[in-house]
């Protein structure tokens, strides 16, 4: 048997071959359709890297500059494609460096498999060199994890890992493999996992629940939809759009739901939450039926729960039973896959237009436009705004770029103003709020979807948390566009200090290096913009560049993001200034 052509047919027939555990790991990954993985070598994972060398024609390993970068790259890869991202690292510090990315993937439901090397099984528990209890450490932030100490367990456990990571509500899985299990031989055959007896990934949708939801929606005078990432993960974008259009329901999105319905869609009323749009936040407390789809009522979305949509009947569609009634009590809950349950709902809905109700959103949008949006996008003051940079990117990419944002003010601006035309175009760290996410995530996104423009929008703070990944971009020649919106501050924290801590700017001012010189040090084309009149050409140059490009835009130092729901306040108390 040719060791380099193990196709699906062969795995199905379950022919066994005698190979090492480490070769088995690679063959499992190939059988799962993994074409790219991100990682960093080290002592306890070296046998696997040796096999990666042998299989380098079939599986592309990307050496990141830090294991955290490997996880975020795997996340970016997964978020843009829906496929499972894979990260690999050695034991000890290699494994612990994965934790931030794993926690991020857990809270943002990103399918990811992490493989870590571990000291030989006879050394477990002995405080051996680079031994760490990564199973114990990763337990609270993984959907599942498992330690393999015998080569014979490898195929079954890796198959299970991929199945668990991508099925139901996706999430990260960590598999820790001792070095002796990597060296040991096994009789290898591979069969994909299709079920785990204690795990029910997709609860069956109860048609009676769907009918109850339809009844409420059909009788509603002021219905409102808030959708989340569940729509994207469930590939239910078309079903959602059909529902919105048929029943004429204004629909808002959470940060991770962005791009599921095009921004320009007339019934897309914008983002909810702390820095969301004015109308959907205020009218959350005015609607009579609130239809939540694939979202989890995060505190950044709801503000004070005691005053959240108390007047409304709540309908909650979700795949995860643990989310029902977790934060907001529902009147009707519909369990199941979003595509399935929304398909069942659609024929039961009566056509409607809710013109008067929709007008309310338009009226409030006009207020937000006057007080916030106009100055963000068409500023008259001297300093450049983050909003106008986004506007320029929108114009020049025609909304077709995938926007990868980091965490902070620029992230809120990116999500508020990016004009999306395609789903899976907003890649950002939502639940965990991981600064340093964007640069490596953009690498993964671009490598996963090379045909798409990928623009990373990053603040000067977050950029410096994973800036070493410029090395990965350079070595792999990943043509990502990097935009750093530099306000020489940790802007979001500074905004809070201004508003809630009497302008005591404790440790938020940044003395920054010459970012352009750093990019050029990695042989990445770069330029810096400080004046409005240079912005358009700079963005054009960036987008026209065939390789990676770095653009630093010096924006006003003390700009604030509005609207804003102060923490603990009600959604309807959203402030415009």
């Amino acid at each position: 048997m040719n060791t380099k052509t193990l196709n699906k047919e062969q795995t199905k027939t379950a022919t066994t071959i005698r190979i090492s555990g480490s070769e088995a790991i690679i063959r499992c990954l190939i059988a799962e359709g993994v074409d790219i993985l991100y990682g960093y070598p080290g002592g306890a994972i070296m046998p696997v890297y040796d096999e990666l060398y042998k299989f380098r024609e079939q599986i592309h390993h990307v050496l990141t500059r830090h294991e955290q970068g490997a996880t975020h790259a795997a996340q970016g890869y997964a978020r843009i494609s829906g496929k499972v991202g894979v990260a690999i690292a050695t034991s000890g510090p290699g494994a612990t460096n994965l934790i931030t990315g794993i926690a991020d993937a857990q809270i943002d439901s990103t399918p990811m498999v992490c493989i870590t090397g571990q000291v030989a099984s006879h050394l477990l528990g002995s405080d051996a060199f680079q031994e760490t209890d990564i199973i114990g450490i990763s337990t609270p932030v993984t959907k599942w994890n498992h330690q393999v100490t015998k080569a014979s367990q490898i195929p079954e456990i890796i198959a299970k890992a991929f199945y668990i990571a991508k099925s139901g509500r996706p999430g990260p899985v960590l598999i820790d493999i001792t070095k002796d299990a990597q060296f040991e031989e096994l009789d290898f055959s591979y069969e994909k996992c299709t079920r785990v007896r204690s795990y029910n990934p997709v609860p069956k949708t109860d048609i009676d629940d769907v009918k109850a939801a339809a009844l409420l929606i059909n009788s509603a005078k002021k219905p409102m939809i808030v959708w989340g990432q569940g729509v994207i993960l469930g590939k239910a974008e078309n079903e959602l759009k059909s529902i919105i259009e048929k029943a004429g329901i204004p629909a808002a999105w959470t940060i991770l739901g962005a791009s599921a319905v095009p921004t320009a869609h007339p019934l897309n009323i914008g983002m909810v939450g702390m820095h969301g749009n004015y109308a959907p936040n205020v009218l959350t407390n005015d609607c009579d039926v609130l239809i939540a789809i694939g979202m989890r009522f995060d505190d950044r979305v709801t503000g004070n729960l005691a005053t959240y949509a108390k007047q409304a009947k709540i309908i909650h569609f979700d795949i995860d039973p643990a989310e029902i009634d977790k934060n907001v009590k529902t009147d009707v809950s519909v369990l199941g896959d979003a595509k399935e349950s929304l398909s069942q709902l659609l024929p039961l809905l009566k056509p409607n237009s809710h013109t008067e109700w929709h007008q309310k959103f338009k009226d409030l949008y006009a207020i937000e436009y006057e007080k916030v949006i106009k100055d963000d996008l068409y500023p008259t003051k001297e300093g450049l705004t983050m909003g106008e940079v986004l506007k320029e990117i929108n114009i020049q990419t025609k909304g077709n770029a995938a926007i990868v944002s980091d965490v902070g003010q620029h992230q809120m601006i990116a999500c508020r103003y990016a004009e999306f035309t395609t789903t899976r175009s907003n890649i950002t760290s939502g639940g965990l709020g991981t600064m340093g996410f964007a640069l490596p995530a953009a690498i993964g996104a671009k490598m996963s979807a090379p045909e798409r423009d990928v623009v990373a929008i990053i603040g000067d703070g977050g950029y410096q948390m994973t800036i070493q990944e410029l090395g990965t971009i350079f070595q792999q020649k990943v043509p990502v566009k990097i935009v750093v919106l530099n306000n020489e501050f940790l802007g979001m924290v500074r905004q809070w200090q201004q508003l809630f801590f009497d302008k005591r700017y404790a440790s938020t001012e940044m003395t920054n290096p010459d970012f352009v010189a750093i990019a050029k040090g990695y042989y990445i084309d770069a330029q810096k913009v400080t004046k409005r009149e240079d912005l358009k050409n700079a963005v054009a140059e960036m987008m026209a560049c065939e390789g990676p490009y770095f653009l630093e835009v010096c924006v006003e130092k003390e700009g604030n993001v509005f609207p804003m729901i102060p923490s603990g306040a009600s959604v309807s108390e959203v402030r415009l200034e």
Partner: protein
């Protein structure tokens, strides 16, 4: 600005009052796969919410290779439901239930180690043992050991009665419980297979 800072405090106090006033003792029964690491995973769910367990017992169940956990803790039903949801979500958990005292039949067990001379010097000791339906496990020259199974209150009563004589060692098990209602675990496992 100051006004906004009042909200979280207000709602925290409100929540505190609400949750405190409604707490109850619940017996949680969890059926799981018998896997290493699951204890860590389940305990993390309680730890995250700052929930202290009264007792925990893990044993075999009526189904081969399926473990049964019995956990006792005090909290509001609202929180209990959420915790059950988080527990059931774990891949290797087959099913989790919660029950009130009235819905279960439960027992705890304890061991007392006492000085042997008490048996001869303190006549009352023999009466206490008899009346409490405790069992003498072993007697030697230095000490004797008695075992008592029953409800928490019975065990506590016996402990109070014996403590006046001086207890050399004492230990009590976690609660074990069966429910009055049926638990359809076998059927559930069959359903997972299809």
């Amino acid at each position: 600005m100051k006004q906004h800072q009042v909200y979280p405090l207000f709602s925290i106090i409100q929540n505190l009052i609400r949750t405190m006033s409604e707490t109850k003792l619940y017996t949680v029964s969890i059926y799981t796969e018998n896997n290493i690491g699951l204890l860590n995973r389940i305990s993390a769910i309680f730890q995250r919410r700052h929930l202290n367990l009264d007792s925990i017992n893990i044993s075999v169940s009526e189904i081969e290779n399926v473990s049964k956990w019995t956990i006792v803790l005090q909290l509001s039903e609202e929180r209990m439901k959420k915790v059950i949801g988080q527990i059931e979500k774990q891949i290797e958990v087959i099913k989790a239930y919660y029950h009130t005292e009235e819905e279960t039949i439960y027992q705890e067990s304890c061991l007392f180690k006492l000085r042997s001379n008490l048996l001869f010097d303190e006549r009352e000791i023999q009466n206490i043992i008899k009346e409490s339906n405790a069992r003498i496990v072993t007697v030697n020259r230095e000490f004797f050991v008695i075992e008592k199974s029953g409800r928490k209150e019975e065990l506590e009563l016996l402990h109070r009665e014996l403590s006046v004589f001086g207890i050399m060692q004492f230990t009590r098990s976690g609660r074990i419980a069966v429910t009055k209602d049926e638990m359809k675990i076998s059927k559930m496992l069959e359903a997972f297979q299809h």
